[in-house]
Subunit: 100 residues, 2 copies
Amino acid sequence: MDSDSAADGFTAMGSTARLDVLRALVRAGPAGRPVSDIQATLGIPASTLTHHLKALADAGLIIQEKTGRSIISRANYDQLEALAAFILSECCSEEGRNHG
Amino acid sequence: MDSDSAADGFTAMGSTARLDVLRALVRAGPAGRPVSDIQATLGIPASTLTHHLKALADAGLIIQEKTGRSIISRANYDQLEALAAFILSECCSEEGRNHG
DNA sequence: TCCATATTTCGATAGTCCTAGAAATATCGA
DNA sequence: TCGATATTTCTAGGACTATCGAAATATGGA
């Protein structure tokens, strides 16, 4: 995980609307949820929801798969774990240094 | 940790410049670093750096303390841990449900 | 083919954010 | 008080973002 893709990931989580969508998918587990189902739960207009889902997918936080007329979105747990671990990685590695 | 303050925290981490500043502080450990020291390491103009530090402080990700002419910034490890934990909290709690 | 369902693309508006130079403020030492 | 150091505030422009209605696209069934 490099700094740039981590920042992309955090940007994607950095709006209430998008974080709510992501968490709905995290709660749903590996089965994921279709767009229309998320929309019914959160009450976001379809075009806005598509926009946010694309942002989450571009950042690698979710994975989308088309089945029939539906698109199933799933949380990308590996990526989410990597981001969570990134926050405090290298913690205190320079503790006590006066220069550098 | 509610969704709104989590989103604020992730927004603060959602730019490369700011994430680099935060990580410099995470690496530094509890001793923290003065602004001028961060500036020397990262090469960011002072006014830009102040702007980013304020954003990080407003989101509760860092804590600033004035000592003499310097301001020491420290990572707020409790808040960072809470954000890391938030990402996957409630994971799969609705797994298997078809409605709701 | 025709219709209903599911989702995306387009387009436009309003608002927010990043960056950074210049000027201002605060602190310490001589 | 004067100067050096440390940091913030002011200001501004260009870039990016969120929102969402309307129109378009894709799929499956009758």
